[in-house]
Amino acid sequence: MMIQQPPAIRFDRLGQVFQTRSGRTEALRDVNFDVAHHEFLAILGPSGCGKSTLLRMIAGLLKPTSGQVEVFGMPVTGPRDDIGIVFQKPTLLPWATVEDNIVFPVRHKTGRVTPRDRDRAQELLAMVGLEGFGKRLPDELSGGMQQRVGIARALHMDPDILLMDEPFSALDALTREVMGFDLLGIFARKPKTVVFITHSVSEAALLADRVLVMSGRPGMVASEHLVPVDRPRGPESMKDAALLDLTADLRDRLMMREVA
């Protein structure tokens, strides 16, 4: 018998209400779902449906007004060490080299950087396909390369959970696709629990094990879809009939919500 392990992340009757100048805004209502260990979960929804709010609550940057978030069975009360965040924009430090940007979380948290941290940064650079770019400044890199550095920075402290908030939405379509495939490669070698926020249907279906579709205002989980495509996935998976069916279905649901 296997011992039942708690899920990596659990949302339990979670609600979020923001007090604004014009009154109360209900951002999220009765959100319930689990994310399994090493699962890649994509959350898909229209803008303003509270997707980013969900991420901030997992990260412990925002407290829910009702219900709770659990990470590895423990209620989230504040930021944790085992969670990494990739933002929509790379937001690298413009004065620091690529390598210094990757080790920045360690420097910022502990005040010092060891040679081991630098070795690890080099490994990560190779992993995200930027070998030899360690001494460059962010300014000298393309948008896609900068976001690769952002991903390496989030992975540097080897978090169990990676939160990605529309990480590729600022990139052009081609770069975006390539970044998706590269991400698949990275997680194939080193599995992580990933919560990936996006409003790209095909990106969600290609990358995730499971896709949650959210409805907007207040944000609620509208539907849940397993992605019936085996791993490893690659460009050929885009032509997989099951994946195409799923993307069509997801698109319909999003459109329906938008119209309704």
């Binding site: 940057l61 896609g144 390539v178």
Partner: protein
Amino acid sequence: MKDAMTQSQTVPAKASRPAPVRPAPARPVAAASTAPMSQDSRPLLPRLVDLPGVTTGATLIGTVLLWEIAVRIFAIPSYLLPAPSAILNSFAAIGFSRWMLHVWSTLRVALLGFGLAIVVSVPLAMVMMRSALLSRTLYPLLVIVQSTPVVAIAPIIIVALGAGDLPRVVITTLITFFPLVVSTATGLSATPPELIELSRSLRAPAWREMTQIRLPYAVPYIFSALKISITLAVIGAVVAEFVASEAGVGYFIQFSTSMFKLPQAWAGLIVLAAMSLLLFQVVVQVQKRVFPWSLPKSEH
């Protein structure tokens, strides 16, 4: 299997060697001026005009020549406008050691006042950034201090603080620190919110958020203010010398005017302008050398 392929796809060819490629499209003017002359088939004059400093130099020399000619042709009396040659003569007559005495006196006060303004305003901006309450209470006070004409308070400060450099340094600081506080406070708040979230998610101490994220992000803002403040510092030092002093270029100008030695006063004026320009350039060069990333891309 994907790695080799994706890497070659994702590293855009144009960015794979950014250093040598970048300047050419980004700085057409610089590229033209550094190109070998043999490649430029244009006549000499247009090529000469493209060289750095040529237009500025020509404008300056032209203005001085016109000035000299105008003064001679129209026989303008020297108390109205002395000729450049007359100014140059009285400049030379003063002698190096006397100039140094006055220049050092003004420079010392300007730099001490400027330094004090930095030391006061950067921490003040940090405090105001951290606390909304302090910001609300201090800001009106700062505006009041800034709105009061420093020339008018200067005599009061001299009386209060007595002789010596101290009152002059304080006057200089008063005139310089306001743009510094405002710009630094703006810069400290201009940090991308994602980095602040990153800092919070790492549970880093607040002072490190300030020193490792906010303060470096404020550097471009601080330097914009420093460029304004350094020229204000010279003004501040001169104002203080006008009120009470026995040395300094401002004092020298006032003294020369009272003796009706106008070419000599003009010489002092030109020394002051040169000092301001030089100090401004020092600030520009410090930013260029120490914080090159803080410059707009076109100025790299």
